[in-house]
Symmetry: C2
Subunit: 187 residues, 2 copies
DNA sequence: ATATAATATATCACACTGATATATAAGTCA
DNA sequence: TGACTTATATATCAGTGTGATATATTATAT
């Protein structure tokens, strides 16, 4: 079974909320769902063309006097059905490729201090991420409109995932720094 | 800054332990480091050719009478230096693309039961993964040869990462199932 | 004896990333 | 006012990585 084009379904999902240009879709990915998803222009634009060609979305060109034209896409009935079918399928396995762990695995040939510094940097990065996510959660839990939406428990769970993920990584960085340091002293 | 070819460094790292054929490298990725790394033949073979061309590895053809030939590669001094340089660099940011969270985010248009079933399946998958990792850790901690190797704390930390990761995902699946179920009942 | 799994290399289509090119409009600040 | 920067908007390219498939031999199991 060949790999499924997930960009296709990400786009259908966004257009199912409201009509968007390619630029709008990119902005949404970089703000609303950036804690678990990413899209590039280099993939969005060609996929929009394909989706239009197969009738899953339709294009409307917006001409603001003199302004650069906007291609605004809307989802069709066919597109909605495709999205639903995908949502009902189990997720695909996605192979792990964790650069930090690969470096760690081969790290015995470089000075331990270098690896420890890198672990400190990574820990700091996740600490900042955690802070952001906790703020988002607080804002979200205080928003009565959001709370009454049928999507509420789903959206909240994506935030919770990010929070648990950041927490475990911080803990692991600390533990790993301690273990490497202890092993260095014992040599 | 264009994306770094990590397959290149994964191969150099494996060849720095011992000379290998492309097939051996694939086997190693699928056994020793499969809990955090993945490589495909479709990438290994062309990268081996490039590495040989640039003088980072050398090829020796093994001819066992009649048997299919094996191309056994060894790392050169240049290759060792390249590997070290890469190990000293900070890790690159890798964008998140979590299909399960994307589905969850758009899930309000499908029956909650479908999503809950998927979460149960995912939870079970991680529970099995956790079991495997804990067995590996036990074996590893009981191996006196491994314990005396300079790589010990590094290798152990890659296992610990996988264990924490599996644990948090199991916890998150359970919490998410509970929250979705509760929200369904309250409607 | 036959089927299946393991060894071994190679290639292809496609998914996805990150950089770059191009052009206009709007805001900043000296 | 002019110069600079940022935001809006679309498009394309080279390169990384995935998963499937083709091919051929050897070893093992039923």
């Amino acid at each position: 079974m060949p790999k499924v084009n997930k960009t296709k379904y990400a786009i259908l999902g966004v257009l199912d909320m409201r009509p968007c240009s390619g630029y709008d879709i990119k902005k949404f990915c970089d703000s609303g769902i950036s804690h678990f998803w990413n899209e590039n222009f280099g993939h969005i634009y060609p996929v929009l063309k394909e989706l239009e060609k197969e009738g899953s979305i339709t294009k409307a060109v917006e001409q603001g006097d003199g302004k650069p034209s906007r291609n605004v896409y809307s989802i069709t009935q066919k597109g909605k059905e495709e999205l639903t079918q995908w949502l009902l399928q189990p997720v695909e396995h996605s192979p792990a490729r964790l650069e930090l762990l690969l470096k760690l695995y081969f790290a015995k040939s470089i000075p331990a201090a270098s690896m420890i510094e890198e672990l400190e940097r990574v820990k700091e990065k996740h600490a900042q991420r955690l802070e952001t996510l906790l703020k988002m959660e607080k804002l979200f839990l205080g928003n009565e409109t959001a709370k009454s939406d049928a999507g509420f428990p789903f959206w909240l769970s994506t935030l919770r995932y990010g929070i648990y993920d950041a927490e475990f990584r911080i803990k692991w960085c600390e533990e790993t720094i301690t273990n490497i340091s202890a092993h260095q002293l014992g040599k």
